[in-house]
């Protein structure tokens, strides 16, 4: 077991608790930076895909995991970011301008759905965001002059100061840089008053309010920020699939995004990344498994979405804190061995909420 001796408040504020953390994160970053040397083009593409998923999952985590607002419409934000970025590039705008602009436009769309639904939560919010995503999908189909409708919209390779990133490894580094920047930005926000306000709203709206937190303002902000980040992921997603069609951004993608957050572990940035790895790798695993399964099962259409659904339900029922929560338990088990108490993570029900406000 490791004890951290605290000698200043700085230690609680810093992103890394101790040298060990810094070492492991550094090693991980080094491994990711070295990936293009070790992986072939196919797997590098898959890894880029996971990085893009991780960016989107971080965006959704901010909303679902930290602010406690559910969204079944995040595929729409991914789509808006992708289309906006692709359209601007097709109009001759450099990537370094179109990319943040796509994020901002998506943030505006986030406000568009976030503000009218300020008083909603739970299932009602889920339905509202689902409806929003449906409308957006229709816009992708109908607004042909911009989106190309069902014909689709080709996406040019991103260019940076006139240099076009045609190679897989170049695009991979772009995704990695964006992911690291997004995670650092969100981690910073979470250790600041705004992040604490989000968590406060998630855990108790009524006392958040009585601590001076303007619910409407922070919920709108959470929606806008979440959409902004998801929009950035969308822009990269567009480059990755290189050809946009409206049905790429339907409800299935929204569910996969939500799956990442739930399976990874609600309320942790680690969870967002684990979830992205899980969702990115699962189709590969299924593809491999297909060869071993009897054809009656493996040829069934819709096997993948069905499996995603089953896994989502499984995690909600049995592992509500996701992969990250399980990892923490395993880690503690080895640190405390042989003293581990099974009840450590049991929630104490020492009081009854007999009469809640509202």
């Amino acid at each position: 077991m490791r004890f951290v001796f605290k000698t200043s408040y700085e230690q609680d504020i810093n992103l890394f608790r101790h040298g060990g953390d810094r070492f492991w994160y550094g090693l991980l970053l080094l491994a990711l930076a070295a990936a293009p040397l070790l992986l072939d083009t196919f797997y590098l593409g898959e890894l880029s895909f996971i990085l893009i998923y991780a960016i989107a999952a971080t965006g959704l985590m901010l909303l679902v995991g930290y602010t406690g607002l559910v969204s079944l419409g995040h595929a729409a934000f991914l789509g808006i970011g992708a289309y906006a970025n692709a359209y601007f590039i097709s109009q001759g705008m450099p990537f370094l301008v179109s990319f943040p602009l796509a994020g901002l436009i998506t943030a505006a769309a986030g406000l568009l759905i976030g503000v009218p639904t300020l008083r909603m939560s739970g299932i009602y919010l889920a339905i509202a965001t689902l409806a929003f995503a449906y409308i957006v999908e229709q816009v992708f189909i109908r607004w042909e002059s911009v989106t190309g409708g069902f014909r689709g919209l080709p996406v040019d390779a991103p260019d940076i100061f006139g240099y076009q990133l045609w190679e897989r490894w170049e695009f991979y580094y772009l995704c990695l840089v964006v992911l690291v920047a997004v995670i650092l930005g969100v981690a910073n926000l979470l250790r600041s008053p705004t992040g604490r306000a989000f968590v406060a709203i998630r855990d108790s709206e009524i006392s958040a309010q009585s601590m001076g937190i303007n619910l409407a303002r922070y919920k709108a902000m959470a929606f806008a920020l979440s959409a902004f980040i998801t929009g950035l992921a969308g822009a990269l997603y567009g480059h990755h699939i290189s050809y946009l069609a409206p049905d790429a951004f339907d409800i299935r993608l929204s569910i996969i995004l939500l799956l990442m957050v739930v399976v990874g572990g609600v309320g942790s940035l680690h969870g967002a990344v684990y979830g992205a790895i899980f969702a990115g790798a699962l189709p590969q695993v299924i593809a491999i498994l297909r060869d071993y399964l009897p054809p009656a099962i493996s040829q069934t259409p819709g096997l993948e979405p069905a499996l995603f659904g089953v896994i989502l339900v499984f995690f909600i029922l049995f592992e509500p804190f996701g992969i990250y929560g399980r990892w923490l338990k395993i880690k503690l088990y080895f640190q405390m061995f042989p003293l581990y108490k099974k009840a450590t993570f049991k929630r104490q029900k020492s009081y009854l909420k007999t009469e809640r406000l509202r």
Partner: protein, 254 residues
């Protein structure tokens, strides 16, 4: 001028007059207690003062400011903090994080500098932390600093909730049944905390309380409420001797 004036306050839920023409004034520096049988409307008065409910009638004035129509999130900035009868802490956060939320009324929020975590944000965080540590020391919460609320015993949660309210640096603290669910020893501690809050921090306290021992030991003045109406007001002894109050309690509880 009183710190808090409540004038002819009333709220009706459908046909129920939960609070009916209640007036009282809390003076700076005192501990003012509202007592009354279950369902008398005590918590409702707190919710009206916190602006969670809109009054049907009446006026609320704090420190010369009429806040009858002010939005709920601005009440903390005005200098009024509260606890809840059923404890409303941020369950999936540590004690420290909960207390830091109490600094929210004093936080200058600038999204971009927070995302970059500029030195100004770091300095502000350290200043907030220092304030929080003062409260931790005052209420002896050092041992629980890093613990998740969900893992804390009930009695500690009550103290944490009070600490969080104090972190907003209020002028008026509203405590809704600070001793409910506490054992005899913890109730004794609670009366010491309330004394400390009044003496050392100079915070005025308005509380709702059932435990008459605690009420008489810390209150300067008491108001008795029944069916949303004021029965009596005065020193703890006066109110306890009041025949209407005695009748209400005998009739209201079996």
């Amino acid at each position: 001028m009183s710190l808090l004036s409540v004038e002819n306050l009333a709220i009706h839920f459908g046909g129920i007059k939960a609070v009916d023409q209640v007036s009282f004034a809390v003076e700076a520096g005192e501990v003012f207690t509202i007592i009354g049988p279950n369902g008398a409307g005590k918590t409702t008065i707190f919710n009206l003062i916190s602006r969670i409910y809109d009054p049907t009638e009446g006026r609320l004035i704090f420190d010369g400011v009429d806040f009858t129509t002010m939005p709920a999130h601005r009440i903390a900035g005005l200098g009024i903090a509260r606890t809840f009868q059923n404890i409303e802490l941020f369950e999936h956060a540590t004690v420290l994080q909960n207390l830091l939320v109490g600094r929210q009324p004093h936080a200058r929020v600038n999204l971009l500098s927070e995302i970059l975590f500029l030195p100004s944000v770091r300095r502000a965080e350290i200043a907030h932390r220092e304030k929080v540590e003062e409260i931790i020391d005052l209420l002896d919460l050092q041992a629980y600093r890093e613990q998740m609320i969900a893992n804390l015993p009930y009695g500690v949660r009550k103290v944490v909730e009070m600490a969080r309210a104090l972190c907003t640096e209020p002028k008026l603290l509203l405590l809704d049944e600070p001793s409910s669910g506490l054992n005899v020893e913890e109730t004794q501690d609670m009366s010491y905390w309330i004394e400390d809050i009044k003496r050392r921090l100079g915070v005025t306290v308005l509380m709702v309380e059932h435990d008459m021992g605690l009420v008489s030991s810390v209150s300067d003045r008491v108001l008795a409420l029944n069916y949303g109406r004021v029965l009596a007001q005065g020193s703890p002894e006066e109110v306890q001797r009041n025949p209407d109050v005695i009748k209400a309690y005998l009739g209201g509880e079996e």
